[in-house]
């Protein structure tokens, strides 16, 4: 019997690292449906979960998979699903239910090129806006973008921690390339992994209000069957969880759902800076594209271009202030992503017209090479001097 945390060095794919990260984070429930290129996560969970007294269920489609994940979480178990483009579309309705009912869970999207069936076996980063706005209504969501198998391991743990802390579904937006890439992954001792669990209610059970926010804006979560009276619904509800159909309650609920994210940005926003201190041009990138960007920065520096990189680990909520600040320091911002401009739009928005903002991207199916980025930077530099 293998333990939950496989301490040691491994040579594994991103998909497997993601599954191991989930197990290390305490995930004991996985519901999913086969889809390339995320199937390996389900397959690995199917063989590993029984060893740690967990449950794997293959459901009849992704709609049901997401429903099962929400149910397991409400019963007190850390739960997760993994999918790709078409399945991500099916997940959207119940993702909204998870947001409205403030149910912690993790959803992994191993992105492939779309729209529709697209390129099932080739990667892209085209679902980034769907991650932000794919379910209906106005809401906030947390989205992480890992760039390597090692990061997939750690960020899956981070995703569980954030979902438990803030009581919401957290998305991991990786891609086919990272998911299928085999690399060295170091798994630490269990004691070295910090885990968060959802805030639990204290005090009199008969006075419990399941959606009354605590000090950080997050309501302690009563577990179904735990003795605290619960009413959980996708209808607009008040702090008691009771449906209440008026604009005041709607405003109050949305303030709760968005406020718990907006008021904790400093803990949620994770970025990494590389050679930005004296940079003229800042690349902004995430996921697999940030690896190309990292190489491009060094190559550009060798060619005499003062480039730097801002790597987004948290993509949603968007690090608006960081981009604003950067746009005051550098002469040009370049977004690097495998789509035709999604996060690029956000970078543009936050630079507020101060400096030129460019995109290095394509429609998907392969990664962006560092050379492509450097060539673009050379061209940009000429036009900036002209």
């Amino acid at each position: 019997m293998k333990p939950a945390v496989l301490t040691g060095e491994h040579f594994i794919t991103g998909d497997v690292a993601c599954a191991e990260g989930a197990l290390a984070a305490g995930c004991r429930f996985f519901a999913g449906y086969p889809i390339t290129p995320a199937t390996e996560i389900a397959e690995h969970m199917a063989s590993r979960l029984p060893h740690v007294c967990g449950t794997f269920i293959q459901m009849e489609d992704e709609i049901a998979a997401m429903a099962a994940v929400l149910g397991a979480s409400n019963a007190g178990v850390k739960s997760m699903t993994a999918t790709s483009g078409p399945g991500f579309s099916l997940i959207m309705e119940n993702l909204g239910l998870g947001i409205c009912t403030e149910t912690p869970c993790v959803v992994v999207n191993v992105q492939r090129a779309g729209p529709s069936t697209g390129l099932p076996t080739l990667g892209a980063q085209g679902d980034m806006m769907q991650a932000r706005w794919g379910s209906h209504g106005h809401y906030e969501i947390i989205t992480l973008a890992p760039s390597s198998p090692q990061e997939l391991f750690y960020q899956t743990i981070t995703a569980f921690n954030m979902s438990e802390t803030y009581r919401l579904p957290v998305l991991i937006m990786t891609d086919e390339v990272t998911g299928h890439l085999s690399e060295r992954v170091v798994i630490p001792e269990p004691g070295a992994i910090q885990l968060q669990t959802r805030p639990v209610p204290k005090g009199r059970k008969d006075r419990f209000k399941p959606f009354q926010p605590g000090p950080n804006g997050v309501a302690p979560m009563g577990i179904a069957g735990g003795g605290y009276g619960l009413h959980v619904t996708g209808l607009t509800h008040d702090e008691r969880g009771y449906p209440c159909m008026n604009p005041e309650t709607q405003a109050e609920m949305l303030d709760r759902l968005t406020g718990k994210i907006r008021r904790n940005l400093k803990d949620i926003l994770l970025t990494e800076s590389y050679r930005l201190d004296d940079a003229d041009i800042a690349l902004v990138s995430y996921g697999v594209s940030s690896r190309s960007s990292l190489a491009a920065v060094d190559e550009a520096r060798q060619a005499g271009i003062k480039a730097g990189l801002l790597r987004l680990i948290t993509v949603w909520p968007f690090p608006e202030e960081r981009i604003r600040e950067l746009s005051r320091k550098v002469k040009c911002l370049v977004t690097v992503e495998i789509n035709l401009g999604q996060i690029h739009l956000e970078v543009q928005r936050c630079s507020e017209g101060r400096i030129p903002v460019c995109l290095v991207g394509h429609a998907g199916g392969t990664v962006i090479s560092p050379d492509t980025i450097v060539d673009r930077l050379k061209g940009l530099l000429q036009s900036l001097h002209a």
């Binding site: 449906y33 086969p34 199937t39 397959e43 794997f56 293959q58 459901m59 009849e60």
Partner: protein
């Protein structure tokens, strides 16, 4: 007389001497060696002929017959998404009906067929199938059941038999493999009160073709459940597909029957049933099962077969199975 009996009263079956030469599904497709599913599909197409519109779900039979710019299809063929083959067939049938009514076309005899694998039919597509059966479209739905998601690499479905090993029902210390019993989709189809439901397998080609032909002749919805061995996923020899399919019938695992206007008719009575171990033996997906597991499965298979016999009126009017 019911709708189906009325439509089938002058039915003359195929026999090995008058096999249609037509091949609407041409050779040169990309199926694995020994694929029992494409064999079943080919036989079905021979029975259906060329005046058809095929509506495909996502799956092996979609991928291997249509890698653009090539196609194995000589007849109109449409694929939309994974879960909606029956909904697409509904739309195509309705469109032809409307165009015939308005005089835009004059093609009253086209046969509309939806088809998919066990995952596309029994899991993600059951909602669309149920809707189409309930609305009563004049179409044939064929489920090619190879008992797992083979296209994505052998994940279990609700058609996977109890105990079978797949990549998402891996056998081991804590797991027997597939932990639930196979979903009885023919019975679910029967519950929709449609005129014709039948089970078939490519091991009995004439029987399969006759049932496909009958399904096409019957007005209203018809459902065919076609057992389709997959050497890749079942881990049997590529020369054993037909043999495994035959063993499935001979060991009562997959009884062949028709349900005509709600009346069960056994197609093939198994006089001397073989033990289920003979069926399991060539397939590595069952290799891990213990004697106790096998006994439990045998018990269930016996009970299910008895149930079918009872529905067929006890004696099972079907032909005797010959060695």
């Amino acid at each position: 007389m019911g709708i189906a009996s009325e439509a089938l009263k002058n039915f003359k079956g195929f026999n090995l001497k008058n096999m249609p030469e037509v091949e609407p599904l041409s050779p040169g497709h990309r199926a694995c060696q020994g694929c029992g599913e494409v064999l079943a599909l080919r036989l079905a197409m021979k029975a259906l002929g060329e005046n058809v519109v095929m509506c495909s779900a996502t799956g092996c039979m979609e991928i291997i017959t249509s890698p653009f710019p090539q196609t194995a299809w000589k007849v109109p063929w449409i694929h939309v998404a994974f879960e909606n083959a029956a909904a697409v067939a509904s739309g195509v049938e309705s469109a032809y009906k409307a165009m015939n009514r308005k005089g835009i076309i004059n093609q009253p005899d086209v046969v509309f067929v939806g088809y998919g694998g066990d995952g596309a039919t029994m899991d993600i597509g059951i909602q669309a199938l149920s809707g189409a059966l309930e609305r009563g479209h004049n179409f044939v739905y064929m489920c090619f059941d190879n008992e797992a998601y083979m296209n994505t690499g052998i994940q279990r479905s609700s058609g996977t038999p109890f105990g079978a090993g797949t990549t998402t029902s891996p056998p081991g210390k804590k797991s027997i493999g597939q932990s639930t019993w196979k979903k009885n989709l023919p019975a679910i189809a029967v519950a929709h009160n449609i005129p014709y439901v039948a089970t078939a397998t490519p091991a009995y080609p004439v029987d399969l073709m006759n049932k496909v032909k009958k399904a096409a002749m019957v007005p209203g919805p018809a459902y065919l459940h076609i057992y389709s061995p997959c050497p890749t996923g079942w881990r049997c020899g590529i020369d054993e597909s037909v043999q495994v399919a035959r063993l499935a019938v001979q060991s009562k695992v997959f009884p062949l029957y028709e349900v005509i206007d709600g009346q069960y008719v056994l197609s093939r009575k198994v006089a001397k049933p073989k033990p289920i171990t003979e069926y399991f033996k060539p397939q590595r997906r069952f290799r891990h099962l213990t004697e106790a597991d096998v006994a439990k499965i045998q018990e269930r298979i016996d009970a299910e077969y008895e149930d079918i016999l009872k529905k067929c009126g006890g004696d099972g009017k079907g032909k005797e199975e010959k060695e």
